[in-house]
Symmetry: C2
């Protein structure tokens, strides 16, 4: 990050017509954007939402109430403009792109084999990396994939410890029996791939999925291009988490936008030292939480750039 | 509220291409707006922010680090476009009006006398009531007034019990000695006006302030005109609270937008049965939290109106 830009932003904040600290996280957000954009007055002229879609062999274990065909059907719904994220992107003033990964072929069932071969994993990471163009001001990431909260829970367990019961949530709406099946599938996958657990990349390859690997690549590309990132919910955060395990500051350019109602997200965000910006009980994925947080960041930028100083406005300062 | 419109909105939500409940509070917000606008597809074409400003005799007790002159100076800053709310209103796509009450003359010092006479209180309520025109889709309320967190804390204590220490916060940035002075001033006011405490209107008159009385009037006018309301932080919520004490459902048409960092706001919102939409550590007032929540409501409306149904999009439903 550009500490000269962030220091300059912090100095400016202290002059603006408000009691110091009274804009709370809006002040932090302006300084954070300054740091990662490398501009003391950050801007959000070009905001992009990218959704990666993929399918999961583990869906065969009965871990979702929806059939895998819904992944492709929802990609069609995104293209037609009928999904939640189409509406949310418009409110956010953001562009939206959807990238199906690996032709929406499923990964291998992680209870039986590694999700991806090394070559397939690298190809998915590369698709994510290449999807991010330099020059955008903020990147919002999201995903679509029936079965992917199972992969994300397995990935989180592989990185941070804990068993299936600790990380499994109801996803799109599992009943109690489905939740128990999901926890057992995660435990089976963790046992099968126990040897991977010292290596965050191996965890991502064996337990993750195509769209998760693409998100990993996109977060990495954003870091290199100096693009701040809004992560979405549980799956998106889990997909990015290996970067924090590889390097303690590896996710400093990323925020968690919304605390998902999916069971493991609060613990995962805490493990990464992140406090989500919003907490509205959502658990949809498809970058919905990230898009919803964009106006908060726009507000932070607008106050930072547009407010008068005490001197300019002739307002008395505190005694 | 219009339960036919809200029932129709709830039925529509169940058909949209998302797992049931997965948009969390966005679903509730769409239904709430439908109920109070009386439209099954609510809209936010006309959003207005109204800030009431007033001064407080209790400022003489050393309860703020800023001089009372700042109230008028900030009204000037609002007019010139240099305050936080000017920037936030633009992001929210909302109109902004500022209404100084009682010529910015201070109320009486509540440690020595009732804040307002009966006539002055009614005049301030009437100014607030008259400021709200029918036909707007959402009203955001806020305030500006040096010393007004002291009045708000006294008002909250008068309505819900508890002493000065329980309700006093640091306001614009009091140190420990200032905070102790503020708690003592509140305790003195509560003792002086103990006879008022069975009557929410008397509490508002004796312990409140001009801009708080105007907010009370504006919230009442919004109810009569079927306009949903976003309350801002501690002062704004305290100003509206007498309506809930007069009638159990008296604030059902109002939401608390943001949980202020001001000490008493969490407890006050809980006493009213309200869960704030946002929690971003802000404590500025001037409708900043309410303005920040407007895009969340826009997102709720956009999803409600614009999403495809499962049938329209050809997406499989859950088994």
């Amino acid at each position: 990050g550009d500490t000269e830009a962030s220091t300059s932003a912090l100095t400016r904040q202290a002059t603006l017509t408000k009691p110091p600290g009274s804009l709370g996280r809006l002040e932090e957000l302006a300084v954070w954007l300054a740091r990662w954009q490398g501009r003391s007055i950050p801007r959000l002229d070009r905001v992009e939402i990218v959704i990666f879609a993929g399918n999961h062999g583990v869906a065969a274990q009965g871990v979702s109430p929806y059939p895998p065909a819904v992944t492709a059907q929802m990609v069609g719904n995104f293209a037609a403009g009928g999904a939640a994220i189409n509406q949310l992107a418009r409110i956010a003033g953001a562009g939206l792109r959807v990238v199906p990964v690996a032709g929406l072929d499923p990964t291998a069932d992680i209870t039986l084999a590694p999700a991806m071969t090394g070559a397939a994993f690298l190809s998915a990471v590369s698709i994510g990396f290449s999807a991010i163009e330099p020059g955008i001001d903020l990147l919002c990431l999201g995903e679509m994939g029936i079965g992917n909260t199972t992969a994300a829970a397995a990935l989180a367990a592989g990185l941070f410890g804990g068993d299936g019961a600790a990380w499994a949530g109801r996803g799109t709406g599992l009943d109690d029996a489905g939740l128990a099946r999901k926890a057992r599938a995660i435990d089976a996958a963790l046992a099968l791939h126990a040897a991977a657990q010292d290596d965050p990349i191996a965890v991502a390859r064996c337990l993750g999925g195509y769209e998760l690997a693409a998100i990993f690549g996109a977060v990495l590309a954003a870091r290199l291009h100096r693009i701040p990132v809004l992560l979405d919910g549980f799956v998106c955060t889990a997909a990015a988490a290996p970067l924090a395990r590889l390097n303690a500051g590896g996710l400093d350019h990323a925020l968690v936008s919304h605390r998902s109602a999916e069971a493991g997200h609060g613990a995962l965000a805490a493990a990464l030292g992140k406090t989500p910006l919003l907490d509205l009980g959502m658990r949809l994925g498809e970058a919905s939480g990230a898009a919803l947080a964009v106006p908060i960041l726009r507000a932070a930028c607008a106050c930072h750039a547009g407010m008068a100083s005490f001197a300019e406005a002739g307002v008395s300062t505190a005694s």
